[in-house]
Structure formats: C-alpha cells, structure tokens
C-alpha cells in the first residue's frame, strides 16, 4: 500500500514517495510528460495490488513450512542467519559495500549501548539513566531517515518539482490491452519480487531495481526504456509489492527482517507479545492468520483507496515545501517523544539526524546502520550463547549441517565483499 502511494508523487513530480518507487520514478515521470499519467497510475495501482497478492500467497504457503524446519534451529543457525541477512543487506543493498559494512558495524555498536543481553551489565551508558534502556530504534530511524532529509530539504527549499499535469482522467482506460501484452512481465515481476523479498536483508526497493533491470534485459524493445515505456513500470511495480509479502517470511519465521519495513514490524510484533520465530505458529496461530487475512484485505482495499489517493494527491502534492517542512519536523519531534515519553527520544532523533546526514554526505548508506541496530541484540545473544555453549570453539559453529551451509555462504559473501572493496568495484565508487 505504502509503496503504491509512493508511485503517485514519483509519476507526478519525479519524487518517489518510497525508496521502492525510485527504480521507475524517471520512467513514470517520462510517461506523465508524454500525457500517459492515467495509464501509468492505473497500471501501478492494479499491478501493485496483484503483485502484492502473489507475495501474500507465497507467504501463506511458505511460512509454516519454513517454520517447521526452523523449529530445529539452535543459536548457531540463528547466528549465521542473522549474519547472512546483514551481509546480504550490504552486498545487494548498497553501492559501496565497504562503507555499508562500516555503517552496519556502527549500527551494531550503537546497539550495544544499554544493558548487555547475555550478562545484564550496563555498557557505554556513562551513568546516564536514559541510555540504560538502550537506543530506541524508532526515534533513531526518524532521525536518520526523516530529519536528515529535512536538513537537505531546508537548503533547497526553493527548488520544488512541478506538476506536469493538473487533472487526472480515466485511470483504467487501456489497462486491458497492457495486461494482454505484458502479462508475462507481471508473473516474472511477482515471482522475482517474492524471492528477493524473502532473502533476509533485501526488500522491496532492491526487488524493484532488479525487476526493472530484468524487464529491460528481456524486453523485445529495450530501446524504449527510459522514454516513458510501461513495460518496466509494470514489472517492477508488481515486484516491489510482491516483495512486501516475501519480506514477511524471514521476519515471521526467523525474526530476521527482510528490509527496513519489516525491521519496524518486528519491533511492533514484540510489543504485541507476538515474538517472531518458528514458535509463533504454535503459540499465537490466531495472530498469524489474522496477519494473513489483513494482508489480503489490504491488497484488495488498495484498489479503491489508491483511486481516492490519486484523486486527492494533486491537492496534497500542491502544498508548498516551505509549509510542509516545519510541519514534518513537528511530527518528527512529537513522534519521537511519544516513543519514550521523555525528551530522550527527541535527543536521539536529533543526534541521529545529524549523524545520518553526515554519513550520507560521505556516501555511507544508512540502512545497514538501522538493520544493525535492530538485529544487534538478537545477533549478540545468539553469538554469546553459541560461544558459551561451545566453550569458544569456532568449529562448533559449523558442526550442524544447516549451520555449516549458512556459515560457509556467509563467509563466502564476506570474503567477496572484502575482495571487491580492495579491487574493481570500489575504485569506480571512490572516484565518482
């Protein structure tokens, strides 16, 4: 749902509302300039819903099966799984894996602040009572994502995008023809999306980029891509919504977020006493099925609500930036305050807003930082448990078959990252 809403400003203003819409924002905007805004938004709306349903279908089928396997997992498997998820996030998710790695370590380090999960000793708190509770990740996230964006926006307050088209006409005209012509793209996009979503650490935004690339690669008319061509939009909009359902698979079954959205979801699930992990299917099956049903309903409701959103978007997007920015800041402050019910949340938001801005200026991606912060405690707990169980023998981390497979894959990815950072890939990034 949120991703589709992100498609609207992408098409109208060339400002993707969510990172997942960024892959085809240019394509959508080019379509809008060609006068095909209605067709673009109609396709986005319908195929977002359809792709989302495919993702949910896989979630419903695959999650319980995986859970049955995961119930035999011990701390070793979880340790490697968390490791693998974090490494995937760096490898696929960022342009510069080395800086992504630094960001991740920073996130894990920040996650150490507070009471240590294994021994209960307060670390890095400097006698501060607020820090004892750890770094609350919602204000941190508000800071890193929203406040840093506000800092950039404040400087360019007078440079706003402009609407290419004032009125939105019939949305669903021409949809039948597009469907007949490109139904293969829909199926491929949904499948690829679900698969990428299900990888721990990779989510909807990556799915959209990959699907866009696949669509271009296998298209009969690749030269049309970039000039306002519906094919790539259709495939990636199916893909990113399917990825949402896919990302819930590792989130529910292993408690490992597939992307930053499910990272938040896991926090919420814990708050609702629905501790994610394979046993959630034993202890709280009613909640799981509620989640499935809500997922289906949300995807179906997306069509009428999205229709209204498109109608209302013109007015909302017309609000000038100089009015919007102070209001967003106010919402950020109150939202952060509400998480801790004390000024501590606001301080966290401010500090991490500045850190996030600084890091992005240096080309350091901030998403790994958040993933590290969210996964840090579980990661450390499984690591410490494993170390204590095996009495420090590193071989025990590979003694169980699944742990061995996961471990070897993780080490391979780490090795490849380091190798790539020293050679080829990094050079281009450093120069640009």
């Amino acid at each position: 749902m949120a991703i589709f809403a992100g498609d609207i400003p992408a098409a109208m203003l060339r400002m993707p509302g969510t990172p997942a819409s960024a892959a085809y924002a240019d394509e959508s905007y080019a379509m809008a300039r060609k006068g095909q805004l209605e067709l673009n938004l109609g396709v986005n709306l319908v195929f977002s819903a359809a792709g989302g349903l495919v993702g949910v279908g896989f979630l419903i089928v695959a999650a319980p099966m995986l859970a049955e396997l995961a119930i035999n997992f011990s701390s070793f498997e979880y340790f490697w799984l968390a490791c693998l998820g974090l490494m995937c996030a760096i490898m696929i998710g960022s342009a510069d894996p080395l800086k992504g790695f630094l960001s991740l370590i920073l996130g894990l380090g920040v996650g150490c602040i507070g009471i240590d999960p294994a021994a209960g000793f307060p670390r890095f708190t400097f006698g501060n009572v607020d820090l004892l509770s750890g770094i609350n990740f919602i204000p941190t996230m508000i800071g890193v994502f929203a406040v840093s964006e506000l800092l950039r926006g404040a400087v360019e307050i007078d440079k706003a995008g402009y609407l290419v088209q004032d009125k939105v006409g019939a949305l669903f005209r021409g949809l039948g023809e597009v469907t007949r012509k490109y139904w293969r793209n829909f199926i491929r996009g949904s499948l690829v999306g679900t698969l990428i979503g299900a990888l721990p650490g990779a989510g909807a935004d990556i799915a959209a980029w990959v699907s866009y690339a696949i669509a271009k690669r296998f298209s009969k008319e690749p030269e049309k891509f970039g000039t306002g061509h519906i094919e790539g939009v259709l495939e990636s909009t199916s893909s990113n919504n399917a990825a949402v359902g896919g990302a819930w698979i590792p989130a529910l079954v292993f408690g490992i977020p597939g992307d930053s959205i499910t990272a938040i979801v896991i926090g919420v699930l814990y708050m609702k006493n629905m501790n994610p992990g394979p046993t959630v299917f034993l202890q709280n099956p009613q909640f799981i099925y509620a989640v499935f049903i809500i997922f289906i309903l949300a995807n179906l409701l997306m069509v009428p609500l999205g229709y209204i959103a498109i109608r209302g978007a013109r007015r909302l997007l017309g609000v000038p930036k100089n009015v919007l920015l102070p209001l967003i800041l106010l919402f950020c402050i109150v939202g952060s305050f509400a998480m801790t019910n004390s000024p501590y949340g606001i301080v966290l938001m401010l500090v991490f807003g500045l850190i996030g801005w600084f890091l992005e200026e240096q080309g350091v991606p901030v998403a790994p930082l958040i993933l590290g912060l969210v996964l840090g405690e579980m990661f450390e707990q499984n690591f410490m448990t494993s170390m204590i169980k095996s009495d420090g023998s590193f071989l025990a981390f590979f003694a169980r078959p699944i742990a061995a497979v996961l471990g070897v894959s993780t080490l391979a990815i780490i090795g490849w990252t380091l190798f790539g950072a020293l050679r080829g890939r990094g050079d281009k990034i450093a120069v640009s």
Binding site: L102, I105, G109, F124, A154, L330, I333, I346, G353, A421
Partner: protein
C-alpha cells in the same frame, strides 16, 4: 560536506579504538570466559579493519582530497536554513518543558515558516491549525503526555 575518504577512515578507526578502550573496565565473570566485553571488542576490531581497507583504497585511487564543502555552506541564508532544523529541535527541547507544548510548537512552526518566506497570514493560520491538530491527536487521542508547562497552568489552572 564531503570528507576525504582517508579522514573518514581515520574517524571510524578512532571510533573502533574508543569502543575497545571503553570495554577495558567491563567485568569478567569467574569461570566464564566470554563476558560483556567480547562483542564490542570484536565490533571495534572489525571497524578498525574495515577502516584500514578504506584507507588503503582511498590512498590508491583518487577522489575527494581534504574537505569539500557544499556550495550552500558559503551562502549565509542557506546555511541559516540548514541550522534552523537542528536549532528548532534544540529550542523545543529547552522550551517545551517550562512553557508547555502548545506555545512551543506554535512558535517553532511559525518562525520556521516565516524564515522560509511563507506569507504571514498563511503561516499564522497553518501554525495554529497544526499545533491544535497535533495536540489533539497525540495529546488527547493517543494519550502522549505532551508537556503542559506554564501555558496549561494559566489556561487550565494547573
């Protein structure tokens, strides 16, 4: 603002070293080899290692040297706009508790909008409406204990 990657690497390495240094006084438990210091030490080590690779890479290839400031930083008006965002948050932190949420949020949004050249009347209307809406939604509906401060003492008598 873009730093030389080599400076960035040194900053990260210093951070890693600080992390390790701070674990020096973490307690060890008798009969237990792995205490609370282990994980932060590993992280610190990894951070130093990755910084070293970054340092090597940045020395080998070109890129930014020294510090490159953004154009907006030499423009006082834009720099003020930039500083206004953290400034507003600091103002809120200092003023909300004594004054109360309503006057603080109102003043903050109003001043920001006026600086960003929103017409006075529109800025006033939006600031009043936004403050009232947030106060109602978060304060009343979501039961967030927004600071009452002096304002509510005067208006509601305590």
């Amino acid at each position: 603002m873009r730093l030389d990657d080599r400076i960035l690497a040194l900053l990260f390495a210093a951070l890693g070293a600080t992390m390790i240094a701070l674990t020096a006084n973490f307690p060890e438990f008798p009969g237990q080899r792995y205490g609370p210091a282990l994980f932060p030490r590993i992280l610190g080590g990894l951070m130093i290692g990755a910084s070293a690779i970054l340092l090597l890479r940045a020395s080998r290839v070109g890129g930014v040297r020294g510090v490159r400031f953004d154009p907006f930083m030499s423009d006082p008006a834009r720099m003020t706009s930039f500083l206004l965002v953290p400034g507003a948050v600091v103002f809120y932190l200092l003023a909300a508790e004594p004054l109360g949420f309503i006057p603080t949020a109102f003043a903050m949004t109003l001043v920001m909008m006026l600086w960003f050249r929103v017409p006075v009347l529109r800025a006033l209307v939006v600031a009043v409406a936004a403050t009232a809406l947030v106060n109602w939604f978060f304060g009343t509906l979501m039961r967030v204990p927004l600071p009452r401060g002096l304002f509510m003492q005067i208006v509601a008598g305590g």
